[in-house]
């Protein structure tokens, strides 16, 4: 499991725009780089990131991203979402070599 860091408030008022910052450990190997032996190091990228907001009734995709080799290693993605109701945010990363990871965070909305 890659180390991941999610930074966001734990509480918000209904209608507030909440800022979310995510970091995940991953080499984001471009597939263009020669390794120490001269051979190209195989591409190994996180391709997709998504954030789903489950507010107790439905789960909605509120943000997603497609990443390419030009995204730096240990990808940092910051975005925002509207605090609609108390619930859980689910963050998913997926990519090459079967890479998948999910983290969750709770948001209490008053």
């Amino acid at each position: 499991m890659a180390r991941a860091l999610i930074t966001m408030p734990t509480t918000a008022k209904r209608g507030d725009v909440v800022e979310i910052r995510t970091l995940i450990a991953h080499p984001m190997e471009t597939g263009y780089r020669p390794g120490e032996d001269g051979a190209i190091v195989p591409r190994n990228l996180i391709r997709r990131f998504s954030c789903h907001y489950h507010d107790g009734r439905d789960e909605v995709l509120v943000f997603s991203a497609e990443l390419f080799p030009a995204v730096a290693a240990n990808p940092f993605i910051a975005f925002s979402t509207v605090a609609t109701a108390s619930g859980t945010l689910r963050f998913s990363w997926s990519g090459d070599q079967g890479f998948t990871q999910t983290e969750t965070a709770s948001l209490a909305v008053t």
């Binding site: 509120v62 080799p69 030009a70 730096a72 940092f76 975005f79």
Partner: protein, 146 residues
């Protein structure tokens, strides 16, 4: 090593570091933007591409893209795409938003192979497209690993 092998190796090496003519990259960049915009004309404006004009290390360059938009059901940003001119490929990242985003602001960190032009394109829910281009100077680190 035989002379022919040596020449072959030299050509191969030259191929690996061959820098494509700027004109070819500019065409590809225009094509990538047009493909994302779906043939709709792309206007400059409403988008702010924030990046340091001089970058200390092209491995990790912080960027923020902000699009002016109320982000309500009637008027919002659906997607923000970032393109480059001189990396091995034109795409950098695509972000998909919508009214639930609240604000059309995204940040990430990108790689820049060399000094070049970057473009952020925002696609709105009414299909219109807006962009901002920036030129970035990239310097290289000194004292690195072999």
């Amino acid at each position: 090593m035989k002379r022919r092998e040596l020449i072959g190796a030299a050509v191969g090496l030259a191929g690996a570091v061959w820098v494509r003519p700027a004109a070819a990259n500019a065409d590809e960049l225009a094509a990538a933007i047009a493909a994302f915009a779906g043939g709709v004309p792309v206007h400059a404006g409403r988008v702010e591409f924030e990046i340091a004009p001089l970058v200390e290390n092209g491995n990790t360059v912080p960027i923020t893209v902000r699009v002016q938009s109320p982000m309500n059901e009637a008027d919002h940003v659906k997607a923000i795409a970032i393109f480059n001119q001189s990396n091995p490929q034109r795409d950098v990242a695509n972000f998909f938003l919508g009214p639930r985003a609240g604000r059309a602001t995204v940040s990430t960190r990108i790689r820049l192979a060399t000094s070049q032009q970057l473009v952020a394109v925002a696609k709105m829910n009414d299909g219109s497209c807006w962009s901002h281009s920036v030129d970035v100077l990239v310097t290289l680190a000194a004292c690195v690993e072999p």
